[in-house]
């Protein structure tokens, strides 16, 4: 037991240290959501795209090393605002609301927001737009339609791929999105209306006081616009997509079809690497979190148990209970965001560590209750006998209560670990590449949502199945011990 504990502590310190390591070269951190072809997308495990190419030039201009962070689109402004990232480039359109939070560079792209309908649709121009319209949540299409088309029913999807899927399955009547990706992901059952719904332009965002970066970015952007480099880059990325598309031969054979999807989702472009990274990170975060959860949870449980037994530590007990109630009473997504944006603020920190902290803190509340009820399950008579033999609280806990409680606690902790493995999927919100994010990344390149999702669902299932078996085995062993 002691040995295991030691090992865990060592592992945890390694995580902590790896988060603290300092780097020497100054960096320009670009934040994006790499699922917006051709502006930002993954190729061979790296974020590439028009935006990256432009920001790369800005970094060179400033003699900085470019680092890219891939997060949820909703998080990009907070990333830049909090100073966690220097520049946001993710096909962001200028809005007054956003401009209140951050500064925009000059436009580097002007894009058309088009309407996609099925071939048999009766919608033929802007004025006929009605019924159910799918948009990507939080995009300009979303806000534009919300403001100007009060009579339509907006379906807000997290990904525009899901919008297209909705259209394919006739769940919506039309999709509104950027013309460039639209042309790439629509199939021959759909058409794009000739007249764009509205035009949109993209700028990059920097923190309000960062004029140096703003000026540098504008200088680079304007130079590239004038020389036509941006158009060339756009074309280059669109063409690279065409190449990869041709590698897969279509067929009517069902097995070939499945193989093709597998090939595109897993093998092509080394996409299995995302799954491996995701798998590793998922396990690492869950393991780190459960260890942290156990450390914190044990302290909380002891405070509460000590109070229950002796009526001392009243205030500390109240605080512990408050902490547990707050953690258990608020969504873990929210806790993750708060820890990332508020607690860690502008400091640069290893994402895995943030995940471990957030999920560990979350888990500690549940672990505390697991341990507390485990301690309470031990026969009161034996505890009294311990006191009657002149042992003190600590001795009674160490020699009598813990060894018996552990039989009830360990299996529950195993189940907590299983829960955590699944919980980590929300780490994708702040850009942790765990399994779910890995499937997201792959889907954003293949435009095939289902295959990677099913694939990682199977991986989750396998992990949890194995863990459940281990927990069952442990339970059996402990019962006989």
């Amino acid at each position: 037991m002691k040995r295991i504990f030691k090992l865990l502590v060592i592992m945890l310190s390694i995580f902590l240290l790896s988060g603290c390591e300092t780097e020497t070269k100054d960096k320009l951190t670009m934040v994006t959501e790499a699922g917006f072809y051709p502006y930002e997308y993954y190729s061979n495990g790296e974020v590439v795209g028009v935006d990256r190419d432009i920001v790369k030039r800005i970094a060179e201009y400033l003699d900085l090393e470019l680092e890219i962070k891939d997060v949820h689109f909703d998080s990009i402004i907070s990333e830049v605002k909090s100073g966690k990232s220097d520049i946001g480039a993710a096909g962001i359109s200028y809005t007054e609301e956003r401009a209140l939070e951050v500064d925009f560079t000059d436009n580097y792209i002007v894009s058309n927001q088009v309407i996609i309908v099925r071939n048999d649709s009766l919608i033929n121009n802007i004025d006929e737009v009605s019924g159910k319209i799918a948009v990507q949540l939080g995009t300009t299409a979303d806000s534009y339609l919300s403001e100007n088309y009060p009579n339509i029913e907006l379906i807000r999807e997290n990904k525009f791929l899901a919008c297209i899927e909705d259209l394919r399955q006739s769940k919506v009547d039309a999709v509104v999105m950027d013309e460039v990706p639209a042309k790439n992901i629509m199939d021959n059952t759909m058409r794009i209306l000739e007249e764009p719904l509205f035009s949109d332009s993209y700028g990059m965002i920097v923190a309000k006081d960062n004029t140096t970066l703003l000026n540098a970015a504008n200088a680079v952007i304007n130079k590239m616009k004038e020389s036509g480099e941006i158009d060339a880059i756009l074309l280059k990325h669109l063409e690279s997509k065409e190449e990869t598309k041709e590698e897969v031969k279509e067929s009517n054979n069902i097995f070939v079809k499945i193989y093709n999807r597998f090939y595109r989702s897993v093998i092509l472009d080394g996409r299995y690497k995302f799954i491996i990274t995701g798998f590793k990170n998922t396990l690492l975060i869950a393991l780190g979190a459960v260890i942290l959860g156990i450390l914190l949870g044990t302290i909380l449980a002891l405070i509460r148990n000590f109070h229950d037994n002796t009526n001392k530590l009243k205030i500390l007990n109240k605080l512990a209970k408050l902490y547990i109630d707050i953690i258990r009473g608020t969504p873990s997504t929210l806790q993750l965001m708060i820890i990332y944006y508020i607690i860690f603020g502008s400091s640069e920190v290893n994402m895995i560590l943030v995940g471990i902290m957030a999920f560990g803190i979350n888990s500690s509340a549940y672990v505390a209750e697991i341990i507390r009820s485990g301690l309470q399950s031990v026969d009161k008579g034996q505890i009294e006998a311990g006191y009657a033999l002149s042992l003190n609280y600590r001795q009674v806990m160490t020699y009598i209560v813990f060894p018996q409680a552990i039989k009830n606690i360990l299996p529950s902790l195993g189940n907590e670990f299983i829960t955590l493995v699944k919980e980590t999927s929300i780490g994708a919100y702040i850009g942790i590449v765990e399994l779910t994010k890995a499937s997201d990344i792959i889907a954003s390149r293949t435009y095939d949502y289902f295959f990677p999702l099913i694939l990682i669902a199977i991986i989750y299932l396998i992990i949890t199945f194995i863990l459940s078996q281990l927990v069952a085995l442990m339970e059996k062993r402990l019962k006989n011990a």
């Binding site: 026969d379 006998a385 311990g386 006191y387 033999l389 002149s390 042992l391 020699y399 018996q404």
Partner: protein, 241 residues
């Protein structure tokens, strides 16, 4: 000598002990009887502070027992045996016996083990030293619980219905051990529903009803010539059974 002065205990609004005065002299064997729920266990548990009295004091050999002060010292001097034996299920018989003397540094482990084995031999259970409590009969468990208390070399031993949870054929082995301990001059306080045992074994009997000592005297006085009507009623009921 253990002196109890005006001991009161409330559980919330409920008054369970209403002011008990009692002096227990060395060598006394005191039997406590009374109807169920009258506060016998609560009284016994107040003596070693398993229940903290609401007011009043417990004075051991001249020292007033203070909750924060010398509790461990008090508890070392007062052994306790429970109805449900309360052996530690996670430990062998031997470990049960030597845990407290070793952890409280009364003996080193070798001495404690030696002493434990000597005591186990006395009760014919030496061969069970490496067994776990769940592998023993009730009578065996209770006798081990008694020597577990005994190894601390207490001045006083408290017994809360030590034979109530036993099958009838096992009661004898436990009372026999208690008699042997008494023979060596141990001071004892026993709560029991075994009237014949109390009558035969104790030097003094105390009848508690509704949180008060109603009558106290020699076994003969209490059992043969009770004065208080409540004692009479109680004894006649017990005899009926």
């Amino acid at each position: 000598m253990l002196k109890i002065k005006n001991l009161k205990k409330n559980f919330g609004k409920k008054k369970v002990l209403k002011g008990i005065d009692l002096t227990i002299n060395d060598g006394d064997i005191i039997g406590i009887i009374g109807p169920s729920g009258c506060g016998k266990s609560t009284f016994l548990r107040s003596l070693n502070m398993l229940e903290v009295p609401t007011s009043g004091s417990v004075i051991l050999d001249g020292d007033t027992i203070d909750l924060n002060d010398n509790l461990n010292d008090l508890r070392r001097k007062i052994g306790m045996v429970f109805q449900q034996f309360n052996l530690f299920n996670n430990m062998t018989v031997l470990d049960n016996i030597i845990l407290a003397p070793v952890k409280q540094k009364l003996m080193n482990k070798t001495d404690a083990t030696q002493e434990a084995i000597r005591l186990l031999k006395k009760i014919d259970l030496e061969d069970k030293k490496d067994n776990y409590p769940r592998e023993l009969s009730g009578g065996q468990r209770q006798r081990i619980a008694i020597i577990r208390a005994l190894i601390m070399k207490p001045n006083i031993m408290l017994f809360d219905e030590p034979t109530s949870a036993l099958d009838p054929e096992m009661i004898g082995e436990v009372t026999k051990l208690m008699r042997e301990i008494a023979k060596n001059g141990m001071t004892m306080v026993i709560v029991s529903h075994e009237m014949s045992f109390i009558k035969d074994f104790c030097t003094r009997v105390i009848f508690i009803d509704d949180g008060n000592i109603v009558e106290e005297g020699t076994p003969e006085e209490i059992f043969e010539h009770p004065k208080d009507q409540r004692v009479k009623t109680f004894l006649s009921k017990v005899k009926d059974i």
